[in-house]
């Protein structure tokens, strides 16, 4: 049998098979304690697969116990599409090079997925997994000419903010909050620039707003203007990737959040004007003269051969439920524990 998982929870046949066995194990009336013990076994097994890497992260992240070093909380909304696993993989590589980083990943989904869970566990990063589905009415339409009608990631970023407010204490934890989408490119040096943020720090972003570089203009160590062209009259004409916020400042403004119905391009401005003035902004990256983040976008891959072969039907899994068609592709539906996994067969030539 040869298949790949379609959505959500991409995995390979052998993994799925072993997960089916795992599901059978779990269903045999195990206690919560037994399940937890099993989970720890699995995590430990995983770490042993990458011993050198584990050691190396410990070494890099040895400042993690030092409370005087602020933690960087990175809030990343994500959603399933064919390139999701690739995007999160290379993003996790960047974050692995950054000490004391806590990755808060919020899936636009009704459940967390195996794909994102596996990826986060393998990364050995400190992370939190959350999920909230954007209502269909607020999703971007499939027609690209109609895109930008509703902003993406709003509920997900807000859930990330809510997690910070529920779990962190401004008096005890030093931190900085950064909104990092899963398709941008981040230089590892960016994170040391933002770590010392007292209010809101800012820097240029490459390849956004129709420009090679969009960002603040600085004189005498202060932001005095912007080299933005697109919607330049916004209060803060900058991209989501161009600023970080001190944790305490966010916690002290418990009602600040992104808005589902904001005009396109105004998300950043509406949030920032609630908590900071332009004169309080802290320019980073050598007075905003260096580009350390790029607004890269990955093409949707051509999958035009997916229906072009002879699919093989081998539903010999105990968890197999039914066939379905999604986005023109025939997918199988499998139920593992309470999680539904879909897969697609590949042609065998």
């Amino acid at each position: 049998m040869k298949f790949v998982i379609w959505d959500p929870g991409q995995t390979k046949s052998s993994e799925l098979q072993s997960e089916c066995n795992e599901a059978a194990w779990l269903q045999k009336g195990r206690s919560l304690k037994e399940k937890e013990a099993r989970l720890h076994q699995l995590i430990s097994k995983l770490s042993s697969m990458y011993p050198q890497h584990t050691e190396f992260l410990k070494y890099l992240h040895r400042s993690d116990g030092d409370e005087s070093v602020p933690t960087i909380y990175v809030i990343t909304p994500t959603y399933w599409r064919p390139v999701q696993e690739a995007e999160l993989t290379r993003l996790s590589h960047t974050f692995q090079l950054v000490p004391k980083l806590h990755w808060i990943v919020i899936e636009d989904s009704n459940t967390t997925t195996k794909l994102v869970g596996d990826l986060l566990r393998r990364s050995l990063l400190t992370y939190t997994r959350l999920h909230v589905a954007t209502p269909q009415a607020y999703k971007l339409p499939a027609n690209p000419k109609l895109s930008w009608v509703h902003p993406r990631g709003v509920l997900q970023r807000n859930l990330g903010l809510q997690w910070l407010r529920t779990n962190l204490d401004a008096e005890k934890q030093k931190g900085v909050v950064y909104f990092a989408d899963d398709d941008n490119t981040y230089d590892q040096a960016l994170f040391e620039e933002m770590r010392s943020t007292k209010t809101v720090s800012v820097w240029p972003v490459g390849l956004v707003g129709g420009l090679l570089v969009e960002g603040p203009l600085v004189e005498g160590g202060k932001v005095v203007s912007w080299n933005s062209v697109w919607k330049r009259h916004r209060p803060f004409p900058i991209d989501m990737a161009g600023f970080a916020i001190n944790l305490r400042l966010l916690l002290n403004h418990p009602n600040v959040a992104f808005k589902l119905k904001a005009e396109i391009g105004y998300q950043e401005s509406l949030l920032l004007k609630e908590i900071v003035t332009i004169s309080e902004l802290e320019p980073r990256a050598d007075n905003c003269s260096k580009v350390l983040v790029w607004h890269t976008r990955t093409e949707a891959p051509k999958l035009d051969q997916e229906n072009n072969g002879s699919y093989i039907f081998q539903p010999n899994l105990p968890c197999f439920k039914k066939w379905s068609v999604r986005e023109g592709v025939e997918v199988g539906i499998v139920q593992i524990n309470s999680v539904t996994v879909s897969f697609v067969f590949l042609p065998v030539l």
Copy 2:
């Protein structure tokens, strides 16, 4: 003054200014020895900027001195476009997580560029910089409908192979050679899969050939067929990212190279059939059931606002030469030592 460098050698104003000073220093009849000493000073200064990172790479790469561990030689052709710096940045992050990797970067250019040079130095990776320009007649036409007429990266990959043959000794060095384009996404686990390659190892590639996953089909530990659809009758219907070659095998076939005039899709096959048979292929990634590399493609960014502002003319650099127009954008030309650098002014609002 506010400007960004256009092509090649993207940098920021302060860096360019200091480079102008550096150029003046170098021009004052310094001896080769003095220049070398200065170079070492600069490299040392650079390392001191990232002390924790330097330590951490030493730790991860502690196997570098162990001759029994094969080195992975990664050959990456690259060329200037607005997303180049971002692509190489995130690729360098992945490679930093891989022990004993030697990155051979070949620019499609008449000279090496400051952009690529700076990026490689900052990465602290072991690397080799080369350059060779593809003749205009062999470049892909700008019209996307006419693309794929000539393959890209052929001369660059061949120069990489030539470097291996000139500098390495099959009797002394254990190694594996992998062709990694700068826009793909690589899981760090892929490199440990390929490290033990005896002849040619193979694995699936995600998001290529019109499929979610294209790759070898394996039975009894041997490749028996392919789940490729696009041009499936090629001798080896796989992507450049789907195989690695033992160094000795390549050195023992000194005339094997990629071809400028191969039919599209046949580069991999024409090279592999010179050195290996299908039955000799070594399946990796759990018998080719796991996807550890994705053929991601990054969109060309919209730069439609670049001409939309008021550019400020401040040619107060001693190295400033003239104005020119490139791809519809007004660029300034600066001569630093023997290197020509172009820049574009951003609008100041």
